[in-house]
């Protein structure tokens, strides 16, 4: 596979194929980051589109010439786009969501979840109850660095050294961020589990 550095050079020069390669490589990570931060899939897809269109428009000005630098730049665009979404949302009147599943879950996914998630897993708990909004709120409570570490490690699959270069910190600091991010997330989701849906929990206990 062609090194990302060379792909970046070609993309900066306007090569369409190189842009496609970058898109395919980073779509999953960018979408994952956004999906962790907004409540519904449609919004996540809209914002993901914005990010990649901005990538196309701005890649000619990009100075980074390695994968870590490019990822940091792309995540920076993503963060700004998500922040813009929330600013816009604050200006709009509050909307009451209709009941229903905003995320289309396949049966296979449901099976995977049911087979692998004990009742003590807070993510499982919130997913099962189709309350992704709780996960989003918990993720939004983390710091930006913690979010970037989680996305880099869990979704993009980068090692600690790459993430360290990406966010400009040492490897040990990244490990600490990774630990605290997961720990905070676990604590937040556990709290929500007990505070937001006590009646459902009681139902399950009865069953």
């Amino acid at each position: 596979m062609e090194a990302l550095e060379r792909v970046l050079v070609r993309a900066r020069q306007g090569d369409t194929e190189a842009l496609s390669m970058l898109y395919k490589q980073f779509l999953h990570g960018i979408f994952g980051y956004i999906a962790l931060r907004v409540p519904d899939r449609a919004t996540a897809e809209d914002l993901t589109s914005d990010v990649f269109l901005q990538m196309v428009e701005g890649i000619g000005h990009l100075r980074a010439n390695d994968e870590a630098g490019f990822t940091a730049w792309l995540l920076c665009i993503t963060r700004v786009v998500v922040a813009g979404y929330y600013r816009q949302r604050e200006k709009q009147p509050a909307q009451v969501p209709l009941p229903g599943d905003p995320w289309d879950q396949t049966q296979a996914e449901r099976l995977v979840i049911s087979a692998s998630s004990p009742e003590s897993d807070p993510v499982h708990w919130t997913e099962v109850r189709e309350d992704w909004w709780a996960v989003v709120q918990a993720i939004n409570t983390l710091t930006e660095e913690q979010r970037q570490v989680l996305v880099g490690r869990l979704i993009l699959g980068y090692d600690v050294a790459t993430i360290a270069r990406m966010i400009g910190k040492k490897a040990n600091a990244v490990k600490a961020l990774q630990f605290r991010a997961l720990q905070s997330l676990q604590r937040l989701l556990s709290n929500q589990q007990s505070l937001v849906h006590p009646h459902q929990r009681r139902k399950e206990e009865i069953r």
Binding site: Q13, H28, S117, V160, A176, L182
Partner: protein, 481 residues
């Protein structure tokens, strides 16, 4: 034992290496990693991480991915069309940031240069570092002007700037700056004059001639006003500039110094030239002596009473009553016994001292040369007459006093003392020596009880000179002591 951070990281990496990089679907590893039980805290976090990693809500819809890719590439094509439509230089800036940086630096340099030039244009002090820049700017401006009339106009304008700056520099603290400004002014006036000469007759030429004339007139006026405030060297330069501008200033052609026969004696300095005035102060080697001169026969005569030894000055000059200062290095040096040497660019007048202009002195300071005896019968007759006049004797060349002085100068003196002793001097005395003899003769006359008035007169001068020679000896050593 490893920290929680490291243990968590090790577990995550272990899972990744086992599953993600072996071609398995990311969700598979969840099924293959049982909780270890010995590290519950890390186990819980690993569980959470796995759940996040494979959460179906984070998976991209393939249809959306394809649509977005097409949309993105379409946008890319649009942008390429837009870029190609842009002007070439700006397009270059987009793809070559270094070119943009260089262009920005050039613009910054340009702005800075313009600012500095604008600042330099306000500078009038030649000692300021920006003054040279201002001169260069003006020079460039003039050299870029092809029309001689415009050049002359710019030169006149520049000269006026210098002239306006001069009064602020007319003090001892700005000697160098004043001289520089004066030199610049002179150069610009000369250049303007030359440029005007190139112009054909016409309105523009007349106008510029009028402007230049006005400038010269103003310059002369201002420089004369500044003279009293200036140091001697500045006055000298200013006088030169006044002369260049056609001002009425003294001019020296040569100087003559008659050294005394012995140290600390009386030296006589005569300066020749034009536009000289009585009352001018003597300068020797650029230093004022405090001696004022009398104008006699167009020459300024200075008598320095206490001339120091064999001092041979390099320059002689004068400070005119109007403040102007002139100097000459064309100096002829003579001795009272008749030897002469010439310095500077002035030619000597021969082997012996031949005074040619020893004027009669009158009360009004004007001089007349009225030789009453044939010059050939008494070389240096005017000097002899001057000596006679100094001791209040008759200056008539046929009277005894002048005849006695001339005879001493020619080595033919014969006199008889009051006691009848005849004294003959075959040695030719210089006028300085003769003056010494006269001084001693006057002393003898004042001491002589038989002399009713106690003074020298035409009737007794020969007798007392003989007595003086008798007392002093032919070499005058006794009298000098």
């Amino acid at each position: 034992m490893k920290s929680l951070y490291d243990r968590l990281n090790d577990r995550l990496e272990h899972l990744e290496s086992r599953n993600w990089h072996n071609g398995h679907h990311p969700s598979d590893f969840m099924l293959q990693e049982p909780g270890r039980g010995d590290d519950p805290e890390v186990d819980a976090l690993i569980m959470l991480a796995r759940r996040l990693r494979v959460a179906p809500r984070l998976q991209v819809d393939p249809g959306f991915a394809q649509r977005l890719e097409r949309r993105m590439l379409h946008r890319h094509t649009e942008l390429q069309v837009q870029y190609s439509g842009m002007k070439r230089p700006f397009f270059l800036l987009h793809i070559r940031p270094a070119l943009g940086v260089a262009l920005c630096l050039c613009l910054l340099f340009l702005v800075l240069s313009i600012s500095v030039l604008a600042l330099a244009a306000q500078i009038s002090d030649p000692q300021n570092q920006l003054y040279a820049l201002k001169r260069w700017e003006q020079h460039l401006q003039i050299s870029l002007t092809s029309n001689a009339g415009d050049q002359a106009s710019l030169e006149i304008q520049g000269a006026r700037d210098r002239l306006n700056a001069l009064p602020s520099l007319a003090d001892p603290a700005h000697t160098v700056a004043y001289s520089q400004a004066l030199a610049d002014l002179d150069q610009q006036v000369q250049t303007a004059t030359a440029a005007i000469k190139e112009l054909p007759p016409g309105t523009q030429r007349q106008q510029l001639v009028s402007e230049l004339s006005g400038l010269k007139s103003d310059t002369i006026h201002i420089l004369r006003r500044l003279l009293p405030k200036l140091t001697l060297s500045e006055r000298l330069a200013t006088t030169g500039e006044l002369a260049h501008l056609g001002g009425n200033v003294p001019y020296l052609t040569s100087g003559m110094l008659i050294l005394p026969p012995h140290p600390h004696g009386r030296a006589t300095i005569s300066l020749s030239g034009s536009d000289l005035q009585s009352g001018a102060q003597l300068l020797v080697d650029g230093k004022p002596t405090g001696v004022t001169g009398l104008l006699q026969n167009g020459q300024l005569i200075f008598v320095v009473v206490n001339w120091k030894g064999e001092q041979h000055p390099q320059s002689l000059g004068l400070v005119d009553p109007d403040g102007t200062v002139v100097q000459t290095t064309a100096i002829t040096i003579g001795t009272a016994n008749g030897n002469t040497t010439s310095d500077g660019n002035h030619n000597g007048q021969g082997n012996g001292y031949q005074p040619t202009a020893t004027p009669d002195t009158q009360q009004n300071g004007q001089s007349t040369s009225q030789p009453t005896q044939d010059q050939s019968s008494c070389p240096g007759l005017p000097q002899a007459q001057k000596l006679a006049s100094k001791y209040q004797l008759s200056t008539d060349s046929h009277e005894a006093a002048v005849e006695a002085i001339c005879a001493l100068h020619q080595g033919t003196f014969t006199g008889t003392t009051s006691d009848g002793t005849t004294v003959t001097a075959s040695r030719a005395y210089g006028y300085g020596e003769i003056e010494q003899l006269l001084t001693y003769a006057q002393y003898l006359a004042s001491q002589d009880q038989t002399n009713p008035g106690g003074k020298l007169s035409d009737t007794n001068v020969s007798s007392y000179l003989a007595a003086a020679l008798l007392t002093c000896g032919s070499s005058l050593e006794e009298c000098e002591q």
